[in-house]
């Protein structure tokens, strides 16, 4: 139970095509994350899976069954929204129970399921409260609880952590990861935050301009990006791109991740001046204006005593250089 298949999904708003033929297969129990910049169509795709948006053409299959024209409530899905979207006039308990009541579930069954979700998310003390009386983190837990009680085939998350502060975001992220392990349920998750994508996903789907750029596990995307877009999108700070001709390498564009460069004051491949240094404690980021390679970023681990205007030499790890052809596709060595 809980597989998803998308067949050539297209979606247009008027003349503008937002999704340009998406094909995807998600296996039962997988945690798949859609990432991409704003406006890449990732939320529209999620809403199409949920049935909140009609697709212009193509088919959505859940458990092998075509649900393209099935209403959202009958697709066996549950969704968690960025803005929580709790019913403001209902208590936490009723917020969780409403969907089941609507489906005509017997009261005993509702009570058991709500109790189980409450226990799992430690919502016991808040059951009688209204959403307005809860903090942001608690509200998001209730929203997750509301999804849990439906016991769906498919969990859909629409940027669930975006409205939380940094500390709470990490905590809730861990909680979602734990839920996924515990339930073994299939989850589709949309985010623009690559840290969430890298830490949670079994597989990441990178979207850009309504098409899938690459699908793969976090480490596949990091180590073997299919093209310039994925290479630039995954990893922080962003990968350095240098014209191959300028530094005498093969291919059209060369990509080097900031963490795959080493720096020495005395000698190295790219001589340059530090224009800015960021000291983060665990990392030190240097921005170098080099003679041959232009502006590049270097990420060093630990503390280093470099300051602006220092002259240094950066050298890439030769085994970790990415090459791209004239169309931006990765050249596999």
């Amino acid at each position: 139970m809980g597989s998803l298949e998308l067949r050539n999904i297209r979606k247009s708003f008027g003349a503008q095509e937002v999704l340009k033929g998406i094909d995807l297969q998600v296996k039962d129990g997988e945690f798949v994350i859609f990432v991409g910049p704003s406006g890449c169509g990732k939320s529209t795709l999620l809403r199409s899976i949920a049935g909140l948006e009609d697709v212009t053409s193509g088919a959505v299959l859940i458990n092998g069954e075509d649900v393209t024209v099935t209403p959202p409530a009958k697709r066996g899905i549950a969704m968690v929204f960025q803005t929580y979207a709790l019913y403001p006039h209902l208590s936490v308990r009723d917020n969780m129970a409403l969907g089941l009541k609507q489906a005509g579930t017997p009261t005993d069954e509702i009570n058991t399921r709500v109790a189980a979700a409450t226990e799992m998310l430690s919502l016991e003390p808040y059951l009688k409260r209204r959403p307005a009386e809860l903090s942001g983190g608690q509200r998001q837990r209730v929203a997750i609880g509301r999804a849990l009680v439906r016991e769906p085939e498919l969990f859909l998350f629409d940027e669930p952590l975006s409205n939380l502060d940094a500390a709470l975001r990490v905590q809730t992220r861990v909680e979602i990861a734990r839920l996924h392990r515990q339930l073994g349920a299939t989850m589709i998750y949309v985010t623009h935050d690559q840290v969430e994508a890298m830490t949670l996903a079994d597989r990441i789907v990178v979207l850009n301009g309504g098409v899938i750029e690459q699908i793969g596990s976090p480490m596949e995307l990091y180590n073997r990006p299919a093209n310039l877009f994925v290479a630039g999108f995954i990893g922080s700070p962003q990968m350095n791109f240098v014209e191959a001709a300028r530094i005498g390498e093969a291919g059209v564009t060369i990509g080097i991740r900031p963490e795959h460069l080493s720096v020495s004051p005395a000698e190295g491949r790219f001589k340059g001046k530090v224009i800015h240094a960021e000291h983060l404690g665990a990392d030190t980021n240097l921005y170098l204006e080099t003679e041959t390679a232009g502006l590049i970023t270097v990420r060093l681990f630990g503390e280093h005593r470099y300051a602006a205007d220092d002259v240094v030499h950066a050298t890439p790890d030769p085994t970790k250089i990415h090459r791209f052809d004239e169309k931006g596709r990765s050249i596999v060595a």
Partner: protein
């Protein structure tokens, strides 16, 4: 009010202006009420004086309650106003929901068409309305008034409510859809409670012109059994002699029902149940 941002001088100036405006607005009401409790001589002799032992008189109220059937008039006014408000709010909110929620061809045009009524006075169509009512046999019924007032109130209601409904979170409506609520349930159970303050505003704006209207009751329903309060009060205004005691008493009485309705709606205006629905 925060002391850091408001100087005492500025605050008091604002208050002086507001208090002055309040006095100006309330003065006619005050004058009407005090004079309704005075004898005819006192009304003309000392119109600004409060009723004293020598000038106090309930003759106006006695006349009102004896002459004409004012209980029926009040009942008619109340029925017409309440039913019209209900219909305006119901249909106005439904149309506003459709306009703000669904994408369909001609959505903007439809919105404009519905809002254009704000700019065109319904009284221009009086003759046609009267002909229509005569043809359908609705003259001298409260139904004719309710129909006209509902039509009159809808444009503004749709205009205000559709703006408010656009602010209701899409996620909330979608959460309802995933939980299996029908579009009607989403409208009545999720959206309407959230736009309650706007509904109250619309109700107040709709109510007052209806309650005070003289034109349509006079033309469409002047019969004894369908008279409204404002029309009933005209009984005492003659071409040569006007019974001011009775007119003032009738007007004073007419203030109260509308005041009660206003209080009910304004409580809705103030209550902020919606805070914390999203974010």
């Amino acid at each position: 009010m925060s002391k850091a941002r408001q100087s005492t001088l500025r605050t008091s100036l604002v208050h002086v202006a507001l208090i002055a405006y309040t006095l100006v607005a309330l003065f006619p009401v005050f004058l009407t009420i005090i004079n309704s409790f005075k004898s005819k001589q006192a009304i003309f002799g000392q119109p600004l004086r409060l009723p004293g032992p020598s000038t106090f008189s309930l003759i106006g109220y006695e006349t009102v309650l004896k002459q004409g059937d004012f209980v029926t008039y009040f009942q008619n006014s109340t029925v017409v106003t309440v039913v019209s408000i209900f219909l305006v709010l119901l249909f106005g909110a439904m149309a506003a929901f459709a306009l703000s929620e669904y994408r369909f061809r001609g959505n903007t045009l439809m919105g404009l068409y519905l809002a254009i009524g704000i700019m065109i006075p319904i009284r221009l169509g009086t003759v046609a309305l009267l002909q229509g009512m005569v043809a359908s046999g609705l003259v001298n019924t409260l139904t004719s008034l309710v129909l006209v007032y509902t039509a009159q109130g809808l444009p503004l209601a749709i205009f205000i409510l559709s703006e408010f409904m656009r602010t209701v979170s899409d996620d909330l409506k979608n959460a309802g859809r995933i939980d299996g609520l029908s579009e009607y349930a989403i409208f009545f159970r999720l959206v309407l409670p959230l736009v309650r303050p706007a509904m109250a505003t619309v109700a107040v704006f709709t109510m007052i012109p209806i309650w005070n209207d003289l034109w349509f009751p006079l033309i469409l329903a002047p019969g004894e059994s369908t008279k409204t309060v404002t029309l009933g009060a005209q009984l005492f205004i003659g071409q040569f002699v006007t019974n001011w005691n009775a007119v003032l008493a009738a007007l004073s009485l007419a203030i109260f029902p509308v005041l009660v309705l206003y209080v009910i709606f304004s409580r809705q205006l103030i209550r902020g149940i919606t805070s914390g629905a999203v974010k």
